[in-house]
């Protein structure tokens, strides 16, 4: 589904990603961990196509296409979803209206007719239940006045609405209390299928209690320095990153 080779990216003069290699297949869950400032969020942004970053080298293949040639909205319409760490507010635009446009843009790209109002409402009810999102929130402006937990639930709600092939969740667990964490993580798990894939960026092992990863990658200074299975996350939680970083330096 996704094949990243030697991906390098910078912002201004600063090189942040220094040769990322990563392959994600359909049906897999990947977790990306690593200390602050190692480039985790940058990787998510670059994959989504944020033009704040310049790709300086490398290749990214997504569903057989050169991902780097597509603009942000094309990537989205082809099923790439980014769950934001800090979802932005759009005053005066209701969540329901926003998602309606998004869903219909995606349908248009797939050659489908837009949903009727009734179909759309049904879809929205169905999907908001997955993350136990208060239905009232959909008639409020996008993220405006939402609590931290509501914002994150709202991200997963949007993910459910858009039904992506590849979802990249950027620290969706940060700032969540334990109940919200469970709801968000369960939501993600329920959206899991054989033909889609999830990349979870996180600081904490606790999220991975709910979303069980097939692979755990450690990102450090713009490179993936270690890949293991879910037991790696537990070890990192206990021992921190130092042992890996020291190994890496010695190499």
């Amino acid at each position: 589904m996704l094949k990243v080779e030697n991906l390098c990216a910078s912002v201004g003069d600063k090189q942040i990603l220094k040769g990322i290699n990563l392959e994600v297949k359909a049906g897999e869950v990947h977790a990306i961990m690593g200390p602050n400032g190692s480039g985790k969020s940058t990787l998510a942004s670059v994959l989504a196509g944020n033009e704040k970053f310049t790709v300086t080298d490398g290749k990214v293949e997504y569903e057989g296409e050169n991902l780097l040639e597509l603009n942000v909205e094309e990537r989205s319409r082809k099923g790439l979803f980014l769950g934001f760490q800090y979802p932005v507010e759009i005053p005066g635009v209701t969540m329901a209206n926003f998602m309606k446009i998004a869903v219909n843009e995606q349908r248009k790209a797939q050659g489908l007719e837009p949903l009727t109002a009734a179909e759309y409402l049904k879809l929205m009810r169905e999907k908001s239940a997955i993350v136990e999102l208060d239905p009232k929130l959909t008639s409020r402006a996008v993220n405006e006045g939402f609590s931290g937990g509501e914002k994150k639930k709202n991200e997963i709600f949007q993910m459910a609405m858009l039904n992506p092939k590849l979802a990249i969740l950027d620290e969706t667990d940060s700032g969540l209390d334990i109940d919200a964490l469970r709801i968000v993580a369960t939501g993600v798990t329920r959206l899991k299928r054989e033909d889609n894939a999830t990349v979870v960026i996180t600081h904490y092992q606790r999220l991975l209690d709910y979303i069980v990863p097939d692979y755990v990658h450690v990102l450090y200074k713009g490179r993936i320095i270690y890949t293991g299975d879910k037991s790696l996350a537990l070890k990192l939680e206990k021992e921190g990153y130092d042992w890996l970083i020291n190994d890496y330096k010695e190499e």
């Binding site: 196509g49 944020n50 909205e73 932005v88």
Partner: protein, 481 residues
Amino acid sequence: MENETKNILQELETSDYKYGFVSDIETETIGRGLSEEVIRLISQKKEEPEWMLERRLKAYRHWLTLKHPNWAHLDIPEIDFQDVIYYAAPKQTKKLNSMDEVDPELKRTFDKLGIPLEEQMALAGVAVDAVMDSVSVKTTFRDTLAEKGIIFCSMSEAIKEHPELIKKYLGSVVPYTDNFYAALNAAVFSDGSFCYIPKGVRCPMELSTYFRINAEGTGQFERTLIVADEGSYVSYLEGCTAPRRDENQLHAAVVEIVVEKDADVKYSTVQNWYPGDKEGKGGIYNFVTKRGLCREGAHLSWTQVETGSAITWKYPSCVLLGDNSSGEFYSVAMTNNYQQADTGTKMIHLGRNTRSRIVSKGISAGKSQNAYRGLVRVSKDADNARNYSQCDSLLIGDKCGAHTFPVMQCSNPTAVVEHEATTSKISEEQLFYCNQRGLSTEDAVGLIVNGYAREVLQQLPMEFAVEAQKLLAISLEGSVG
């Protein structure tokens, strides 16, 4: 992002003014320039009574003593008032009895403008007094309205048929001595709409006037007078467009509203005059005086969406004369390219327990300048007056300007006057967020701007709100910063 922004900005600047067509209709005009003879000629062509001519001449003589105002935050090129044609009318040989007799070309023009002039109006529930250049072409639904005693006709007809009402009310809210353009308008006004709602009558449909400047080199000086008698209600819509031309055209209108005891008037405008091209060439100079007078317990609400004109100078105001009267002003003013707008309102609290509310949303893009100018005055007898003002500015790109000039004058210690203001930009984070959900940048900007203006757009009647939303998106096509 930056490149895309630039591209879209360019695209925006080249996007066409949708209403920039010219109708090929025979027009009867008089020569350029202004003098007592010209005014006599206008009055004569309109077959006006002597008293009206006297009023015009009085206003003209006063106008001669005035200087062009220059206090606004506008760069107004010197206007040669002798180079303007003060009267232009589509030529018609006889009176019209039915829609079929209207010049097909004229009908096509209205069709292009999307005015529901024919049977569809019944469905839309809109009565239209269409003003092309200076003469009211066709007033519809008059019979339906007449049953309720409502008068809705052109100003010229009103002068002939309802002289007692015109004598009583015309100039009672905006006297010719009010300002430079009010004086000019009083001297040369060509036509406009008159509307009278009798005591206790709720006007069953929205009344609408669609103005259009068509003839080249002409100024349009409409005069609108709305009188809502005690306990009545009316919602009035006004829309404006003009064809594109290289030269500037002058539009100096006056709107007067008399809101008698316990009456309620809602006045909505969507102004889309030709704004000039991307270099700032051509476009309408829109110098308008709008004011309403509220008696005891009366309510007046102004809603405006201003997207057109090269220069806009306009302050729809409420004089809250009666106790317990209230006024509202909801405005979205959008400027792009080299457009300039200086717009806002005046809320004059004279009566006790008077309330006013101001919500102004400015949007500036391109190299435009957008100013809000507001006055809230509480006189010493206006006990317990309340005002709430909110002025927001949204900047798109880094070459435009937003300015706010709020003035408050309180002479009564019981007054509560609140003012809130914000300035914001469409952020790259917002655009990225929308893009990531599959929206194009252009759609994202349209959505964000409409969201920003929502509070005002909600005030518009349904059909108008939809048109205004589209207009905002079109006028902004792709403008991002």
